[in-house]
């Protein structure tokens, strides 16, 4: 059976069929990859650009970054602290989910975009303490509306920076390229 199939595939019509099939497969894959790399849908179309534009510091909403491993997503109480004083909150369609969430006391479900792979223990505080700025990894948020990730956080990305930072300092290089620094 399989031999007859191959024979058929070798004639021109068959080759065209194979071509179409490959093309379909390729475009599906391209679409799929493209789809997975897009920023995921968020409960609120949160405009980072507006907030950064007002001069709000990253650490105001994500204070965990300076204190511990996770930067954290702000509580609704924090959002509401400003927004309940802003008239637009009442009418804005964009802010309706926030208003509803606060009134019904159900938390918003955000989808994190900046994720490290499994088996990595990442700690924000160490990076802030080492003088790294948020935008070094997360990109320029003042140009972004809904958060997306400027690059894939993989080991190459981490190590490139670790090596650059260490430079000629051998002791630091040992520390920053040690498996146990991130994997435990």
């Amino acid at each position: 059976m399989i031999k007859r199939l191959f024979d058929w595939l070798k004639q021109p019509l068959g080759l065209i069929a194979v071509g179409i099939a490959l093309l379909t497969l390729f475009s599906l894959a391209a679409y799929g990859i493209n789809y997975t790399q897009q920023a995921p849908a968020q409960p609120v179309q949160f405009p980072h650009t507006t907030h950064v534009g007002f001069g709000i510091q990253c650490l105001y909403c994500h204070p965990g970054a300076a204190k511990g491993p996770a930067a954290g997503i702000p509580t609704e109480a924090k959002c509401w602290g400003c927004h309940n004083q802003i008239a637009k909150t009442e009418t804005s369609l964009l802010l309706a989910p926030l208003k509803q969430s606060v009134e019904s006391r159900t938390p918003l479900e955000w989808v994190p975009v900046a994720q490290v792979p499994d088996f990595v223990q990442f700690n924000h505080r160490a990076h802030i303490a080492a003088g790294q700025n948020c935008e070094n990894c997360h990109g320029d948020m003042s140009k972004l509306t809904v958060a997306e990730n400027p690059q894939v956080f993989n080991m190459g990305f981490c190590l490139a920076c670790h090596k650059k930072v260490a430079g000629e300092n051998h002791e630091l290089l040992v520390k920053l390229t040690d498996c146990g620094t991130c994997h435990y």
Binding site: A29, I73, V102, R105, E109
Partner: protein, 743 residues
Amino acid sequence: MSNNFSRRDFLKLAGVGAATSAILTGCGPASRYVKREPYMLMPEYNYNGQSTYYATTCRECAAGCGLVVRTSQGRAIKAEGNANNPLNLGKTCARGQATLHGLYNPNRVRGPIKHKRGDRLYETAADPFEDEFKDADSNMNWDDATQTVADALKKYKPSEIAFLMGTTSDHLFDLVADLSTQTGITPPVRFGALSMFESRATLAKAAENLFGESGLPFFDVGGAQVVFSFGANFLETWLSPVSYTRGFAGLREAQKKQRGKLIQFESRMSSTAGKADEWIPIRPGTEALVALAIGRLALEMRGGPLPRAFSDIDPEDAASKSGIKIETLQKLAEMFANSTGALAIPGGAALGQSNGLAVAEAVLTLNAVADNFGKPGGVFFSALAPNQAMYQRPASVKEMQDFTKKLADGKIKVLFVHGVNPVFELPAVLEFKKALDGVEQVISFATFPDETALEADFVFPDHHGLESWGYQRVVTGSAQPVLSGSQPVVSPFYDTRATADVLIAAAQLAGGKFASALPFKDEVEFLQSKVAPLMSEADGFFSAPDINTFMAYFQQYGGWWKTTDARLVPTTADIFNRSLKATEAEFAGEGEFFFVPFVSPTIAEAGANKPWLQELPDPTTTVMWNTWVEINPVTAEELGLVDDDVVKIVSEAGELELPVYRYPAIRPDTIAIPFGQGHTAYGRYAEGRGVNPTDLLGGHFNEAGDLAFAGMKVKIEKTGKKQPLSRLESMMGVYGVGLGEEK
């Protein structure tokens, strides 16, 4: 698909398909599948990813060690000792560590349930590790539950209402005690399997007889030079194991002074005997003789007149009866007499015999030879906890027998049960379960679906200890008076409610003297009213000008304690002039083997439902997840038994089948079985695992009313069956290698 389409072709195509789907789905950030819910309102002191620590009290046994629990994002993730608490100074035992497996146990009572007696509280399935054991759904709301309690309080005469409590937080006990004094309901009864196996009543009674006042003796192991322990297994579960373990470390501390010695008299080697410099495998029942003989020999070595207490004993006779050589006795007596800090401790199985009280008195009197009362390394009365007028001991088994009889006779119409599992813990011969038939309403406040909750008409679950308010009086183990404080470290996981809140609300509903007995808004207000008097006391670890600040500190530090040593010195003027009965214990039953049940140090009374406690190897045998019977290898050879052979142990009260563990450090005429397993309920990890040795115990008591649990003789019968035990030290049983063909 034709028949010519081979498996190989299929695999080829399947491979292409798999690769494609991997390309399509595998490249995306994992984030696509993750959702994060931030707090609605995060506490000010909290940060994402940052841990918050709360001080509270361990409720796995009655000792009252302080804990500091690490929480992250509202979940408790690790329990550590509270370094400030003078009882445990930052340390914990294995059971304290595993308390989180109680909090997050997959089988808990999830809400108030009206329940038919005997019905299950969770579904059973075949495999506890793979299958779901679904908990019963709550079928009533808390308003109805509170009304039910109120109705029960109103409907019956006060004398027909009884509370049975166990490792309940002391504030709840105080609340019920207050309710009892003001309304005339039966005073609350407290019981626990640990106090039964510790023979606490005997120890307290002996102290009362000798020193004229009642209290729990405290033995300063850390300050001693030579410790003679008669059955007191203080490194495993006895009284306050964390504190006594610290004492033991102090005994051994070589830098400060000469390394202290421990001599353990026991028929079966426990962990404590294992750590001892000398283990004396004494014949069960002869502890009193040996203690007195050592005392007499020591006094004779020192010279001078022989006091009355030690004049009746004949050391030669004691030596022959106890199976200890007279030379050994002399050597021990010399050690005791010449030491600058000798200490003798009675406890455990030595007291759980028909002559237990005589043993306790003899051993306590032995301390008079060392003249160590009230001195470092000697015997004290434990410091009373800050809001405690006198030592209240848990009920002895004799008192529980009387209580059970009252239940069976229908004198109690409604029974409230909290923090104790008498159906499992009390010896089967007491027939507690049957006695419940005489009670019209049984209301259980059980957190877990245990055997007693199964026999209740209503289960109104209390929070787990880590979700609760409260305080625990430290009755022994600390030189300072300590009141360990509890606070919720996480919000309740299920629809449970604090029993104190239920009782306060129900008392208000019941009205009359019930309402006036508990005039509180809630549990916390009651707690404040009990803690407030401490503000005016001197020498506190902290003080505060007003109650709110005081309560804040109380939570922050995990309790309140004094900074001064408040151990009391026993009055011992007359101690040498009492005449002590040098008797041997009597043993009930026909068999040829002494039977020693002991508390499993890892599982103890309430640990069986915590999977990591089950997987901790027993310190002496390294057995996990099961019950075994310890038999001396020589005896086993005579009987033709090897490891993992199932034998039937027959006592006058019952029989059990369980596998043999050949234990090299047990008398050939003695067998031992650990207590802790053998549950018929209590969640997926506990149920149907091992056997319960209390089924073998007869209803025999010593003079103090404690159960003579070690006063039985039993028979061993072969069954021809095999049951491999999981042992850390060997995999022989399960692999079937060498089974029955040793050597």
